[in-house]
Symmetry: C2
Subunit: 462 residues, 2 copies
């Protein structure tokens, strides 16, 4: 990767530690940004990590810590001296800290909470109180809040004094005396305004806010629409209780996409990077769905069993079974994938089911005709040069062609409706993933194929 | 959707226009944020949209325009008076304008460029000069740039004077006299510093920058790592030429995820929301891949043809064909999807192929054993209660069991290696999508199955 932009030669911190050259190490770490330090530290043994952390200036230590993956953070907390743990936890930005505390066993979380100052502990407990996956969990209480009757000068003084920890200074939030959010104003307005003007002279009373109980998908959708770097969060009474910054939203959006992609691929979401997840856990998560699908696919053997008689009379029928079921499976995956993603992005909602259905009926008819004709053509063409399909090639061609048409149409419809049905039933649409639809289509595809064969070939081959 | 937070009762702008109540309309639009206005305007006919735009204050008009989808923007440009087009285009933020100009036919772009002021035209042409998909295309030149020898007071005065259009004021960029980026400093540092201090007193010479020629995926990865809301962009000499803000990066990340998901689903990327894309275009994009896959799957009929003799002698073999090929397909999709996403997120690179292979061999052996045993058990169980599989059920069970084992192992390996191979060959790994791997595995799965059958059943059924 080309990301290590300013790290031409990677130093080996372990080497410094081995030589007990702590002065050299302290000099060395000064050359790197916190992100680079996190990368370098990640490669060390936990004991060496603790040593490097002790050498970092306090504010750097916290920042580097925040950039480490959650599991490394956990290991470090166990290995560090209590004093340093307290210093880092109190300095961490509340949103990152919530993520970490949430990951730990409850007993560890309780113990760590006692290390926090009363203010920070209150913040941490409040944030942990929001349900998992809610916008509240992404909040940070570090923002600048002003009253409408303040002057611009007073506001700027306030920012100088209290803005140090604010995660963004781009936008200043205006609240009334009950703490209810009434406006958001960009900092540039303050910088450009007459210092004696009042905040309410700058107000337009137009703002967009998230609710703490909104789920994070909603937050992602609002951010995508608003092109903002931060948005305020209110409780049900409209009281401003925090802000969410877009960097956390980017992480949520990427994690959600990964989850959906893995579910579409026919497995449980891994929740961890491919290389980091324990092999046993990965196999378990993959096996669960494979077994479910396998049990479903066993029905194909049962279905085929019903037609054993027909197959023995016309073995040629068996030859097209893989072609027909895979065509249904492919169209089904396509349609399901499209609708799953459109649902995730909010481009389509359940109420649109009829419009989706109409589009998919047309698509299914078109795609079914194309593949049906190709199937028929293939059999006709082969039969022109050989007698591999015997004297009844025309009827076989019709059977295969119409079956393809039917299977593709059915695959398109069931693939597109299944995610909507799942959402309607309160399940995650991505779980009605492509292979799941494919399995459904496989079994019904066989019924369509052999059903049509019985009709078309009756009296000749059957 | 719960996004229309402050729009309890949606007004019908068309109604105002029908009554020619332009004063009422002008009052009405004041109640909405630009994003809400964009939503409301989107539902109008183009002629009515033009009327609403004429009533909006100049700065609001541009902002609302920026929130409209690209195709609506195109239609509006055609319908608006030249004067208003010029005003909007000159006011638009350069990154959004680049996106729009790039979408238009070259002749329209050339004509619109003449409406820009010399400064804006220069900016627009420069941005259009970067290759599609490059970070340069996301850049905006609106940021605050200062010199190291300025005082803090001078810097703050400069921001007041020139910060109006800056897309972010969170971070101020320091350049040397050749324009080379030498540091980034948060605005809070300036607000808190002694006004007589110099910029270089605040500098730590640590910064992260993007290159204009980096592809946008790299930009996404850096933003994900750095947790920043904006990053500076330099040319090959290190000269600061713009910044990229994270809101554009969120859009890129979501669009890339959508593209990958659609390719994994076995189709060309739509590039437009599901409901907006023309039906004919959607069918074309889906048909292309379905036809390719169909042609591939035709090989299954050919492969089955080779074994027609065996099938006619042991029809029971045909019954398990769907089960075996779908199991291979499912495991192949799983593995491919996992590796495609891990590649996209940079969790895995080509150089990791051997580590991926090792993990997948273990996974394949485990998953193959599970499904192989289940397949054997199913045949054994059915045979205990019926003679559906005849006297040689044990041998048939062995054939099916070992075939499942082989097909699943092969599906896992080819599914995981295919995306790496595609990346190595310079193709998009997502294109080696799940159904593509499934087709490959289907054909080879048949060879494995009938090959094993020939060995195990020779002398009994065959």
């Amino acid at each position: 990767m080309s990301l290590e932009i300013h790290t031409e030669d990677k130093p080996d911190f372990a080497d410094f530690i081995g030589r007990r050259d702590f002065l050299g190490l302290r000099r060395e770490v000064k050359n790197f940004t916190p992100v680079e330090l996190a990368d370098l530290i990640e490669e060390l043994e936990t004991e060496d990590q603790v040593i490097v952390f002790r050498l970092l200036p306090r504010e750097d230590a916290t920042e580097v810590f925040e950039y480490l993956p959650l599991d490394e953070q956990e290991d470090l907390l166990k290995a560090m001296a209590q004093e340093q743990v307290a210093s880092i936890l109190n300095d961490m930005s509340p949103d990152d800290r919530t993520l970490l505390l949430d990951e730990l066993p409850a007993s560890a979380t309780r113990q760590l909470l006692t290390l926090l100052t009363p203010t920070e502990r209150h913040i941490a407990i409040t944030l942990l109180g929001y349900p998992e996956g809610s916008t509240g969990r992404l909040m940070t209480p570090d923002y600048v809040r002003v009253l409408a009757d303040w002057t611009v000068q007073h506001t700027l003084d306030h920012i100088r004094k209290h803005g140090r920890d604010s995660e963004t200074l781009n936008v200043i939030y205006v609240v009334d005396d009950k703490g209810v959010l009434i406006d958001d104003i960009r900092i540039r307005e303050f910088l450009l305004a007459d210092p004696n003007a009042h905040v309410d002279d700058l107000m337009d009373n137009r703002f967009v806010a998230l609710k703490a109980t909104d789920d994070q998908e909603t937050a992602v959708a609002v951010f995508r629409r608003e092109d903002r770097t931060a948005l305020p969060v209110t409780d049900t009474l409209g009281v401003l209780i925090g802000i969410v910054t877009i960097d956390d939203v980017l992480d949520v959006a990427e994690a959600e996409a990964t989850e959906d992609i893995q579910k579409i691929g026919g497995m449980e979401a891994l929740d961890e990077p491919y290389m980091d997840v324990a092999l046993s856990q990965m196999i378990r998560k993959r096996a669960v769905w494979l077994v479910v699908l396998f049990i479903g696919e066993m029905l194909t053997a049962t279905a085929m069993g019903f037609y054993e008689e027909e197959i023995s009379r016309a073995v040629v029928l068996a030859l097209f079974v893989p072609l027909i079921i895979s065509s249904g499976g492919n169209t089904g995956s396509q349609a399901a994938t499209l609708v799953i993603r459109a649902l995730a992005l909010g481009e389509v909602t359940i109420r649109d089911w009829w419009r989706v259905m109409r589009r998919e009926v047309v698509s299914g008819l078109a795609l079914g005709s194309i593949l049906g004709l190709m199937g028929f053509a293939r059999i006709g063409l082969w039969s022109a040069f050989s007698d591999v399909y015997g004297e009844h090639w025309f009827l076989i061609g019709l059977t295969v062609g119409f079956s393809l048409f039917g299977v593709v149409l059915w695959g398109t419809l069931s693939g597109s409706m299944m995610p909507l049905l799942m959402r309607r039933l309160g399940f995650d649409p991505a779980t009605s993933s492509a292979p799941f639809v494919a399995t459904l289509v496989d079994v019904t595809g066989l019924l369509i194929y052999f059903g049509l064969a019985a009709i078309i070939l009756s009296g000749t081959l059957l």
